[in-house]
Point group: C3
């Protein structure tokens, strides 16, 4: 399945989720008052953590960002940007929550797209969607000793990821394979997560 | 080395340890009051964590549960069962400790069996037995922010795993390779762990 | 690039960093009052954690210590040594900090050497230098529930690793490839880290 500029859709989604998750990682780093290299480190851990675990589990060699320095440079730029601007935000935690919701809504379809492209069945697609969406943020929070957002009561974080991945599978089964299924996946994930943030 | 229904013994032990560790993961999730997808997530992390690390380190491709959706469905079933019944238990922590001891006594021989079948030497067999037995529970506790059972003073958790794996090596060296060595491994692990729980 | 006794320089640095990081891991285990198998476990996690992640990410198969039992025996010896002597130290934390600085100054060039030998570009070399230097200690601290040294305010830990890896790249670009670049990398890392410990 091919997307913009000849890049597969999975790769484009990987870039987008890396960028947004990097911003969330840098926001957590700013709550921890790290130096700029610490910002880049946490941003990178958050941004590539989920996709890296997915690739290791699926035996993709090399892992998606190795050999593509663009990913790391994108992360470094995002981290430096947050390093110089985070103090301008009224509520860093609020920004973090909403950015994280956006990142999740891009990373779940990224995981789904890559796993489907490798020809795996629905159970593995479901799992890899959830893993790609959640593990970067989970590692970010564990390493920074914050209560993991992924597992916080009332956030329903994993349920949103799960429902999004399930939506992709259902749309595919109904004949809307490819881009429509991935867009549906992202919309369902974001809508549920936004609902949980607003009314949860 | 072949076991029931044509499955290698290592695979059968993997199934059994996945099931029991999934139950312990779900019990920890219930202590954390997660939702049902959270139960499945923690159950899965606990159940496949150790074996997954073993497989990544040994370069087994794919990892044991990828491409075998049965593992994930088993975990989901165990998690849902605990989700609906955990409140019936008198002491969830007590149940957790004993189930974890059973899981350890199955996972250590699972790690030993798989590593021996790949032709590795005794040091790597020992390490992989301990890793397969302990890492799932370690990740469960780190992610849920509980004091890791693996490293709690007086539990002698890792020593039990180590002694069990050593027993398998000794039995193999004495001519009791295969099933007898694995059974001895499980018995030694369980006996020591049970002793630690009862008299520790 | 070949070093002592026909071993590549990367492998020699891996041995040295494994030994020193194992000592730091065992010191943390002694602060946690674990038993001797716990000492070996934490020592091993610390000692091979960074290099293992590097190898998994780079698709090196097998991981550097699998199939070379020497690494594990070295770790076990270091852990047992600390188990019997840690009480003789005046300040275990002080010893830990300085040993950790030495380990970092060996592990960063180890990561750089291995990654360069595989032909990767500068961004990946930089990343793998930092990962090899920092992840073992990070896992040690996360698992033992200590505030990660890697991320402590004012330690500038990651910045030292980053500067060291950058020094290796700059020296290589200036024509001092190989051993001189790696020695420069280690010296820069250690000098900055020591400065941070003494005046930080």
């Amino acid at each position: 399945m091919s997307g913009l500029a000849g890049l597969p859709v999975g790769a484009i989604l990987d870039y987008a989720s890396v960028l947004i998750f990097a911003l969330t990682g840098a926001l957590v780093a700013s709550r921890q008052q790290l130096d700029v290299v610490g910002f880049i480190f946490i941003a990178a851990l958050t941004a590539v953590g989920g996709g890296t675990l997915r690739d290791l589990l699926l035996g993709r060699d090399p892992v998606f960002w190795v050999g593509r320095p663009g990913f790391i440079l994108l992360i470094a730029a995002a981290a430096v940007l947050v390093f110089f601007t985070a103090h301008l935000l009224e509520s860093r935690y609020r920004a973090l929550l909403w950015l994280d919701a956006c990142a999740l809504a891009v990373a779940v379809p990224a995981g789904v797209a890559v796993t489907m492209a490798l020809g795996h069945g629905p159970v593995i697609v479901l799992i890899m969607g959830v893993i790609t969406g959640s593990f970067g943020g989970l590692m970010r929070d564990v390493v920074c000793n914050e209560v993991p957002l992924t597992l916080k009561q009332g956030e329903l974080y994993l349920s949103c990821a799960f429902a999004g991945a399930a939506a992709a599978l259902i749309l595919t089964a109904l004949g809307f394979a490819g881009l429509p299924a991935l867009i549906g996946c992202g919309l369902v994930t974001f809508a549920l997560r936004a609902g949980s943030l607003r009314f949860g």
